[in-house]
């Protein structure tokens, strides 16, 4: 309603000019609600959160400013530091592995194999599961008494030990395994789409020149797939920063605080500890992390007049 009214007002304001504003008018009117949502909910919510992160709000938001106190406490909290470290380990490894495994799978798929559809479905299926289900499944698989360890032991290797979820120093890798299992299929599909977009003639030309296949992939195809890589990177990276449900389902942050992640810190302090200010400070730090990832990408992708490969 509001959207339409605004739209009409805009039209009336420039009666004689058929210029840029009135072009595709219906499309613009249609997008006004979404634009309002973006501005009010996303931008407004963000600013509100940042503002209140400088207050001493407890259970309910109150405008009592305390300067940078919340941030000082945040960066002195061992749990937050563990969370950041975990996020870094998880982030770097899941970025590298999901890209590499995803691309290799896609390249293998691209060899005109038989039953490609079947394989593609199998690899993509885990992505259809929520993180909660994934987390629970892997919690069972990695449980020393029911999962992989007991199976291997039952096969005869009695000394075999594999219980990442109960070992503080490697628990984050247990979570990483589950995340890769779930996410690699999607990366594979994106990469496969990219590979299919490469002109057959390129392949023919490289074959005529006698370039080995791996070299063609590495030096010709991958540079041509840059946009696909960038998109994949952003999708994976944003998934990494907000990882939460997987941890909750698999370890709920344990043992102790060994597998805590920033998003869980935000939730726990906002709602369990009834300390909104602290939660907002932590979520503002997460926003900054995301901004560090998104801004350079947006700059690269949308800066006009740049030549495209």
């Amino acid at each position: 309603m509001t959207g339409q009214a605004t739209g009409r007002a805009t039209t009336r304001a420039h009666p004689g000019r058929p210029g840029r504003l009135t072009r595709n008018l219906s499309a613009k009117i249609a997008s006004i609600p979404m634009m309002l949502t973006a501005v009010v909910v996303f931008l407004g919510g963000t600013l509100w959160t940042v503002l209140y992160s400088f207050t001493s709000s407890k259970l309910l938001p109150r405008l009592k400013f305390v300067g940078l106190d919340q941030y000082e406490r945040l960066w002195a909290a061992p749990r937050w530091l563990v969370s950041i470290e975990n996020l870094a380990i998880y982030g770097i490894f899941s970025l590298i592995f999901s890209m590499v495994i995803g691309f290799v799978l896609a390249a293998l798929m691209d060899q005109k194999i038989r039953f490609e559809n079947t394989f593609r479905t199998i690899f993509l299926y885990p992505f259809a599961l929520s993180f909660i289900v994934t987390g629970l499944v892997w919690q069972w698989l990695l449980n020393p008494e029911h999962g992989v360890q007991s199976v291997v032991r039952a096969m005869g290797w009695a000394g075999f030990s594999f219980d990442p979820l109960y070992n503080s120093s490697i628990v984050i890798y247990g979570i990483l395994i589950a995340a890769l299992w779930q996410g690699t299929g999607l990366v594979m599909c994106l990469m496969l789409a990219g590979l299919r977009g490469i002109d057959e003639d390129i392949w023919k030309a490289s074959r005529v020149d006698g370039i080995p296949m791996w070299k063609t992939y590495l030096f010709v195809v991958i540079p041509m797939m840059r946009p696909v890589f960038v998109t994949t990177l952003v999708i994976i990276a944003s998934g990494i920063v907000r990882v939460y449900d997987l941890v909750v389902a698999q370890t709920s942050g344990g043992p102790g605080i060994a597998s805590e992640v920033p998003a869980k810190y935000v939730y726990d302090y906002m709602f369990q500890a009834q300390n909104l200010g602290q939660g907002f400070a932590a979520s503002t730090m997460m926003l900054i992390t995301v901004a560090i990832i998104i801004v350079p990408w947006a700059y690269l992708e949308f800066s006009g007049g740049r030549k495209r490969v």
């Binding site: 407890k58 259970l59 309910l60 406490r73 909290a77 061992p78 749990r79 020393p144 008494e145 109960y166 503080s168 709920s252 942050g253 344990g254 043992p255 102790g256 605080i257 060994a258 726990d268 302090y269 709602f271 369990q272 500890a273 009834q274 300390n275 602290q278």
Partner: protein, 411 residues
């Protein structure tokens, strides 16, 4: 939610001309979901239904840490339930200050709560600015050590009489393949176990100085160093627990896989449900057999402000029902907790509950951390102790240093 209440409304309009009674549905949220707890809450529902109203059960699984955020966001988000459980003390403090909770002073005066509710600190925790905002339902004391007689029999040693004996018995238990002390993985369990150790070993005065007065010097002092040494023992004894939920840990004691567990009296409901008999199959040591003091934390029901008049009436009825002697007995017997009034007959109580009642009658009571510390400080403690209990490398001295820092900034 909307659809459900719409349907309920429709159903009411249909039913009204026929029945013309004053049956009002009241949704009650709580986190009592383990076997013993669910049996206890069914007693409350029965008592409330008997008044002609209807108890709509809103159980939220996953312990208080999961349930409280849901309750709070429903109240602040404008979708309040009829009544909700909290641990009385400071969890609902801000909701009350914001005027979201209903003042129960009238009901309390009518029911003469000031006289009958005992110890008086229970009602004090419900009182803010001279007005009463909650109806206490039970006393929950954390200070219990539950021991499996079967486990000690298997290890060939007598059942310990206090904490030190359990520590001494630990090697023999471990040799028999038994975990000496079960501590579940959830953060609040390690935190609670520590508080219990602290009250038992350092005593009432130190406990109140640290948590009541937030005295960081005492927290860093030699008395507390002893407690951290004991916590270090407890940590070593808890290796191999590998379960998350408290009732799973209690189950290890029930089945004799663990020697003992430091857990509140709610564990008793689990023993009862498993058909075990106090004194024969399991033993209980209040205050770890060292300091016989029990804390008067517990559960209480808070009533959000509602516009609906019929529901407000039903809230009053529920508040009265909760402190009613019959409901008190039925509920607390099933739950293994202590009633909030001294004038009820608990002849059916078992050995362990009688020990608790005795201590209560002697007046050896103390306020618990839920009443003394804010949720924020409690959470910081939880982070510290869950890390400490899971870590193989964190020294008791480091833990004490961090503990003192938390106390220094606590509120």
């Amino acid at each position: 939610m909307k659809i459900r209440s719409a349907i309920a409304g429709l159903a009411a309009t249909v039913a009204l001309p026929v029945a013309a009674s004053h049956a009002t549905d009241l949704e009650v949220t709580h986190w009592w979901t383990s076997g013993g707890e669910a049996a206890a809450v069914a007693e409350l529902a029965k008592a409330f239904d008997a008044t002609g109203n209807k108890w709509v059960d809103g159980a939220i699984a996953g312990a208080g840490g999961t349930a409280r955020p849901i309750m709070v966001s429903r109240i602040t988000g404008g979708d309040p339930m009829g009544a909700t459980q909290f641990n009385h003390g400071r969890q609902a403090e801000e909701l009350v200050q914001e005027g979201l909770m209903r003042d129960l002073t009238d009901v309390a005066e009518r029911g003469n709560w000031k006289e009958i509710i005992r110890p008086a600190s229970l009602l004090d925790s419900c009182t803010i600015d001279g007005k009463i905002y909650c109806a206490p339902i039970n006393i929950h004391s954390w200070q219990w050590l539950w021991l499996s007689n079967a486990a000690f029999e298997k290890a060939g040693i007598p059942v310990p009489k206090n904490w030190d004996e359990l520590v001494a018995a630990a090697p023999a238990l471990q040799e028999a393949g038994i975990v000496p002390l079960a501590v579940g993985g959830q953060a609040w369990q390690a935190n609670g176990a520590f508080d219990v150790l602290m009250l038992a070993l350092a005593g009432k005065d130190v406990f109140l100085q640290v948590f009541g007065e937030k005295n960081a010097e005492v927290a860093a002092g030699p008395e507390m160093a002893k407690v951290f040494k004991a916590a270090d023992d407890a940590r070593r004894m808890s290796r191999g627990t590998n379960v998350q939920d408290w009732n799973q840990a209690t189950n290890m004691v029930i089945t004799g896989k663990a020697g003992g567990q430091i857990m509140g009296d709610w564990a008793q409901g689990e023993f009862q449900l498993a058909g075990l008999k106090a004194g024969e199959d399991y033993s209980c040591l209040p205050g770890l057999g060292v300091t016989e003091v029990i804390a008067t934390g517990g559960d209480a029901f808070y009533f959000p402000q509602l516009d609906d008049e019929a529901k407000s009436k039903a809230q009053e009825v529920l508040a009265e029902t909760l402190v009613d002697p019959k409901a008190q007995v039925a509920f607390n017997l099933k739950k293994g907790s202590l009633p909030v009034r001294g004038d009820v007959d608990l002849a059916a109580a078992n050995d362990c509950m009688k020990k608790g009642l005795d201590i209560l009658a002697k007046g050896n009571v103390i306020q618990w951390t839920d009443q003394l510390l804010s949720a924020d400080s409690q959470k910081q403690k939880e982070d510290l102790f869950s890390e400490f209990f899971a870590s193989a490398t964190m020294s008791p001295e480091d833990a004490q240093k961090r503990f003192a820092e938390i106390i220094a900034t606590a509120d």
